[in-house]
Amino acid sequence: MGFLVPAFLAGLAALGIPLLMHLRDRNEETPTRFPSLMFLVRLPIRTSDRRKVTDWPLLLLRALAVALLVFAFSRPFVGNTAEMTADSRAQRVVIALDRSLSMGHGDTWAAAQDSARAVLDALGGDDQVALVLFDEEATIAQTWTRDRASVRALIEATRPVARGTGFGAALRVARSALISAPAGAPSITLITDLQRSGLTGVAGLELPAGLPLRTIVVGGDTRPNTSLRSVEARRVVSGERVQLQVQARVVTRDLAAGRPVTLSLRLAGRDAGTRTATLPASGELTVAFDAVPAPATVVDGVVSISGDALAADDTLRFTLPADDALTVLLVAADEVPREETLYFERALGIGRAPAVRVERRRPGTVDAAALSRAALVVFWDAAPPTGAAAAALGTWQANGGGVAVIVGPRLAERRSVVANVATPTGLADRRTAGGALLGEIRDEHPLFAPFRSTQAALVAPRFYRYARLDPAVGADVLARFDDGSPAILESRAGEGRTLLIALSPDARESDFPLQPAFLPLMRRVVLHGAGHESTPLWRRTGESWVPQAIRQDPVIAAPDGDLLRPGAGAGASRAAVILEQVGVYGAYEGRVEGAPRDRVAVNVGPAESDLTPADPTELLLGVGESTDSTFRGVTAATSIELESRQRLWRWLLAFVALLLLAETVIASQGWRGRARRATIVSPERSQA
């Protein structure tokens, strides 16, 4: 048994208050008035009589209430005093050190290391420290220890990495480190350049109530920087030649003045051109390189500018996909005239990146060999095959192949289920009514991505005759005619997909081929059906990547030469890999040999190049206080936690309240209550 604040026990002197009140037995507020005390003052009034205690129960009640009140304020607890007070002496400091790319600006990193060492030097012998290194993510580099030398060595060995900044991640990991902190006074020291872009993710974060968060901001007030923000690279057709055109966007901030800069372009490891430009002090500039002959294969490129204080964002890598033409097998019966598929074939023949090559085949000739080089099979008003050919098609589709079925009058009359997606129920003839329109379109679907800003283009075509389809269970209706009949349906089949299209690409059944929406929609049917979405030129660090061309046992070669096997042990054939490093990742199937089957360039996010600092108070704005019991040990030294641990004083206060209530009742009842009542009548009242 002890008292957290024993000084309050001096309040026991207040016990004299009820005693004095009792002995004096006077109420200064309401004395009993009497005409004259001329007789009473002559009477010998014995002091001992006046000091005689006549109401012992009331006196004891009041004295007990005062004593309990004093004990309550002294914060009594059951336990070891030394243990309780020791918590408030030892420091438990989490040093969260920013190692993001921006910390490499000028002398910022050296200043950060100096600050971290200064924090270590300020700790006492019993204090313990944990080290958290953070960029976009955070890790506990050193758990709680008194060994400052090891922490110092870790700080010395750490270098900025090519990653962004995330204060939210840093504080979350620091908070988790505090959970396992030994009893003591915890705090978090954040050493960072406090980039404003790193504040994302802080909102909603909760730290233990009363936890000190100290922010040491390193880096200068002005942080001039020049960075390569983006690169555009695309193949262009110039006569009979395909050339590569590259544009780079350069952003400058807080430069003292505009400065000349030289940009260089390397393609496939060779210099492909240089440009000189004068950058503004703050702003951006787009520089276009001269077009160079482009190979049809995958092209790795690097654009770089002459270095500045932060060299890590002066280089930007990209990977231009190979110009592989997609092969579409158009399966049409012999009775289908050329004119009927003319618009469709011509529409797919226009356009590049990728180019689409249409190969017309008769039904029954779609074998495994043909499928192996195809990205999409289009059945023109014909049902998919059955038997062995169907098995080959199913396998091919399960591995990612796409099937599209154009449902025209021939299939509509057959009235049998098509590709397990829908069953034609007849032919709708809308010629007398001026044709049908598309009435309901799922514009959020990738198939309609080109039309999100121009939805009117899709409702312009008129369809005079079309097949009525009854969707099967599991089929997804992407668009309907204005009479509610499905126009486009989709169904997954393994990793591939099947599209059923009731929109007639035949100019005799609709004016759709003559409308502007025809060409982009047919191209989207091919790309989406083939699973060929647009591939970015590069990805940012921290993103995940799934190699597209690898089906089994992927092996990823990281830029530093490490080999990653994302599918190992996971049982998944297409597991993702986290892109940790800046450079080019190569993906192989089974073993690393030859050229990679897929590759991706990785750069740091452009936000990291914006070195604008935030105010430390902005960091705290989004941080709330948590009373989570998980941090019971963390906040041991705070007053709130101590109060919650020691509930005895609360019970004492409640008991005091009950005592005072009882005292009020007792003192106002019976002879005690009557004793003080006296009637004084004023002249005015008596006359009234």
Binding site: R26, N27, P31, P35, L40, R42, R674, V681, P683
Partner: protein
């Protein structure tokens, strides 16, 4: 707070019971007065004042026979000099009067008493005046037949406060009341009986008849308080922490001794001493007093 009006001070029901009783001066005062008032200047004034109805005891020689012949009723002719019994009411307005444990406090009771006596005296044709006092004179209205309204207003304005010094106040009354008459002192007599007696002796020596109404509250006599409390003196503000149950008996002894001493001293001075308790009906007390005065007057 508005001053009380005549009607408030003079309860008509109360006046109806006492208006047939004449207030007879006990001694003959210096003036021109006839009737029951024995005056050294009787008959000197021939200034007719008014007729009044004959009342038993009036001098038969003063009956206006002409009026009797006309009205078949007896009327008395009154003259200015005939009514000159000067009555000065001395009212204690010290803080001790502001006390009451019953429905009415001492000061209110005293104010009604003075108002009633003044009205009665006015009907008798006496000159009436008022002196209020505490430790000295507070207000003085000299006796006159036309000062009833002034007296009523002065009574309404009076507020009991301050420390009282009854002997000094009576001395001051004796100084200002130069013409012999009746001095009616209404007080709670909180002072030494011997000192009060000395002052009353001065009044008596100057030819005044003195009546002392001693107003009492039940609590003053019985000291009925039960629990220990702080008692505050209404006049001086002195506070004493007391245990009444221990002091009650000795207090009552002292109180009775005070009363006895007052009675003895006033009797020795030839002063009528009338104790009046505020919980007793006012009209009964007046009736007894007037009856006593009348009987004593007839004895003379």
């Amino acid at each position: 707070m508005s001053a009380p009006s005549h009607e408030r001070l003079l309860d008509p029901a109360l006046l109806a019971r006492i208006s047939d009783l004449p207030l007879l001066a006990r001694t003959v005062v210096d003036g021109f007065m006839h009737g029951l008032h024995r005056s050294a200047r009787k008959g000197l004034s021939l200034d007719f004042a008014e007729h009044r109805q004959y009342q038993p005891g009036d001098d038969l020689r003063r009956i206006d026979w002409k009026a009797y012949a006309r009205t078949d009723r007896f009327y008395i002719k009154e003259y200015e000099a005939d009514t000159n019994a000067g009555v000065l009411f001395a009212l204690d307005v010290s803080g001790s009067m502001d006390y009451g444990s019953a429905a009415i406090n001492k000061f209110a009771y005293a104010r009604m008493l003075v108002a009633c006596l003044a009205w009665l005296s006015q009907r008798q044709g006496d000159r009436i005046g008022l002196a209020t006092f505490a430790d000295a004179l507070v207000e003085m209205i000299p006796p006159s037949t036309r000062h009833l309204n002034l007296i009523m207003h002065a009574l309404g304005r009076a507020t009991p406060r301050g420390e009282g010094k009854l002997p000094l106040a009576i001395d001051r009354v004796a100084d200002v009341a130069t013409r012999p008459g009746i001095v009616v002192v209404v007080t709670d007599c909180y002072d030494e009986p011997t000192a009060i007696g000395r002052s009353v002796d001065i009044l008596r020596a100057r030819g005044h008849d003195v009546l002392v109404f001693h107003l009492l509250d039940r609590a003053e006599e019985e000291f009925p308080f039960e629990s220990a409390a702080v008692f505050e003196d209404n006049e001086s503000g002195l506070r004493l922490p007391l245990r009444p149950e221990d002091l009650r008996e000795r207090y009552q002894v002292m109180w009775r001794a005070h009363r006895t001493a007052l009675e003895t001293r006033f009797a020795a001075a030839g002063v009528d001493y009338i104790p009046l308790r505020t919980d007793a009906p006012l009209d009964g007390a007046l009736y007894r007093y007037l009856d006593l005065r009348l009987s004593r007057s007839r004895v003379r």
